[in-house]
Amino acid sequence: MPDLMRVFGHHQNKTHPAAPLGEEHPQNAPLSIDDMTVAYHHKPVLWDIEYDAPEGKLIGIIGPNGAGKSTLIKAVMDLVPRASGRVMIYGKPYAKQRNLVGYVPQRESVDWDFPVNALDVVTMGRYGKIGWCRPVRKQDKDAALHALERVGMADYAHRQISQLSGGQQQRVFLARALAQDAKIYFMDEPFAGVDAGTEGAIIAILQELIQRGRTVFVVHHDLQTVRHYFDELIMLNMRIVARGPTEDVFTQENLKKTYGGKLTLLDEAAQALAEAARR
């Protein structure tokens, strides 16, 4: 169990955030998480996360609803505050490594009636490289077009995004991540609500990224395809239940631990904590 007080106070690390990680962590992993706890409104949603990612793997993050899958990748990218713990991307804090990270948020998280076309959205993937106040350059447009080509959406570059199907919207999001040209990718349910053809196309692109030495994390729901898609797994339910090569960890026993009833005890404890804080 983590020191409970950490949940109530933010960032009470004794060590400097930029200090090297402890002996047990490799110094140059794509992603290292050291003893991370995340809480929303005093209710812990992730406990004691310890993790080191192998490089060049397609890594699935699976777990039931409310297991903290999205929160895990958001906490890594500083999008939600951590109650404690440290995160390193290739040995340095996230803020220094932004350009190495690509992100595909959940498709429902944005307003698809926004007045932009597919190319505009993909070009947003280049903004981090362009920098504040500078205009979009021709090479960025070209990179965005190239990314659209790779996901088979070049013909839709000038289509307003609300006129794309769910699968096409997801491809546009993937193209945007490709345009980020990152070394490590976090994708939040890229297969949600897409047709079979799109799912196949996306997985082919992800595998191509792995071939080129990128590391890709994918929040995933469909247990049937897990063995087929992922080299590595993180099985999550508020804490890491199991992690490692899919063939080793994707077992009935681990699935039961991840999705089964036992962990509701932890959830109950988290609820109790939240209630205690409310009084």
Binding site: V101, P105, P115, D120, V121, Y127, G128
Partner: protein, 432 residues
């Protein structure tokens, strides 16, 4: 003198409309409302503290309170567990009330009229002038001009950042474009603009100009970089038409030669323009959507005619022509709709006229066979794979046949295997 009124109206309208785009797109339209009311205590306190009505102090006071409105709203939203618009409502009404209390309490030595804050006094604009570079112009015009330039610079310089933080704040944050920072920058711009426009057009018009021109532009375009200048153009149009209407409007409705308030008329014009756009906008307008629905209905009807003729022919191979009466009875359509549908079919070369009857062409027959094939494939598929009773499959198949692509047809055919006939025992025509 009138020119300056129009110039002041147009400047404030454009200055409001530009940041207004981002309020509309961030679904925060009410924030304009909130900030424009909430700055009142800022104005009052600034006045009480410095005892002067100099532009700058009032500006700073109001801008600070405007920004506080945004901050308080986020707090109430976060800690009070109420939705954003509700927390805005709580914050700005409270601040507005405080402002009123301060003004009334200090009424003896405050020369600040709440009515003027609401409606403005654009007619008085030309009276208070200064000379800049040899040109005599109203003080307000200079202030508004400066604010407009600030807003333009802000929008052009940070266009990329405004776009990404409005569309996908998570991605923006992950790239180091701080969405919160941009949010407060927009709020500051709105606060400053609001204060600058108070004197001339009043807070009601500020709210209208923040929201209505961008909302009109949003109906007309799908590109952000078109939407922003378009909203500015619409804002200018509102100002000019508003002033013209203010002069001639009252006599039009029989109020003699009295003119009415330009600011008020600008809001009226904006509202009217919105209604007109809502009806006539090319793609998102009510009319074009109705026309689209209607043309969709017509194209389905044309296909139904073809399907009907195919079935008649199937029933009795001698029956190659069809009388208008049959169409009316089988499809339940009147002469007008029938006329439009048949003209479309003839123009497409699918049917031709023979005497007073209609005859299907070879191309038409091909198309008809394909439709009937889709229809019967769907019936079989629904019956076999979706457990729909044989008697219930027709209406669904009737709808789906119109949207069946060749690829779908192939998959359907594979799905029902080569049974050759539909649940009613009719044979499925082979592929064309």
């Amino acid at each position: 003198m009138d020119t300056w009124i129009v110039v002041a109206g147009a400047l404030s309208a454009v200055a409001c409309a530009i940041p207004g785009n981002f309020l509309v797109l961030r679904r925060m339209s009410m924030m304009g409302d909130a900030i424009s009311h909430a700055v009142l205590p800022g104005l009052a306190i600034a006045f009480l503290m410095t005892d002067s009505r100099s532009g700058l102090t009032m500006f700073i006071g109001a801008a600070v309170v405007g920004l506080l409105t945004a901050v308080f709203t986020q707090w109430v939203n976060h800690f009070g567990k109420v939705e954003e618009s509700a927390s805005m409502g709580v914050v700005f009404t409270t601040l507005f009330a405080i402002g009123l209390v301060i003004i009334v309490r200090a009424a003896d030595h405050v020369d600040l009229d709440p009515g003027c804050v609401l409606y403005g006094a654009i007619e008085l604009v030309p009276l208070d002038t200064l000379v800049l570079m040899g040109l005599e112009m109203p003080r307000v015009v200079l202030t508004l001009g400066i604010v407009l330039i600030i807003n333009l610079l802000f929008t052009v310089l940070f266009f990329k950042e405004l776009r990404i933080t409005s569309f996908d704040p998570n991605l923006a944050n992950s790239m180091g474009v701080n969405a919160n920072l941009v949010h407060y920058a927009v709020m500051s711009i709105v606060a400053v603009t609001t204060v600058a426009c108070f004197e001339s057009v009043g807070s009601i018009l500020v709210i209208a100009m923040l929201i209505v021109p961008p909302a009109i532009a949003y109906l007309l375009t799908d590109r952000l970089y078109v939407m922003v200048p378009l909203s500015a153009a619409i804002a200018v149009l509102c100002a000019v038409l508003g002033h013209v209407l203010a002069i001639i409007g009252p006599s039009l409705v029989g109020f003699g030669d009295r003119s009415t308030n330009t600011a008020g008329m600008m809001a009226v014009v904006a509202g009217l323009l919105f209604v007109v756009t809502l009806i006539f906008a090319p793609r998102h307008g009510v009319l074009s959507r109705w026309l689209h629905q209607r043309s969709l209905g017509l194209s389905m009807l044309r296909e139904d005619v073809l399907g009907l003729i195919y079935r008649l022919e199937e029933h009795d191979p001698q029956q190659t022509v069809v009388a208008p009466r049959v169409l009316r009875q089988a499809l339940g359509i009147g002469p007008l709709t029938r006329g439009i549908a048949m003209r479309g079919l003839i123009r497409a070369g699918l049917m031709r006229r023979r005497n007073r009857l209609y005859e299907i062409t070879e191309t038409g027959r091909h198309k008809a066979r394909n439709l009937v094939r889709s229809h019967r494939l769907w019936e079989s598929y629904l019956h076999r794979h979706a457990d729909v009773l044989a008697g219930h499959v027709h209406p669904t198949a009737e709808l789906l046949e119109h949207v069946t692509t060749p690829r779908m047809q192939e998959e359907l055919a594979a799905g029902v295997e080569s049974s050759g006939s539909d649940p009613h025992g009719k044979s499925i025509p082979p592929p064309v």
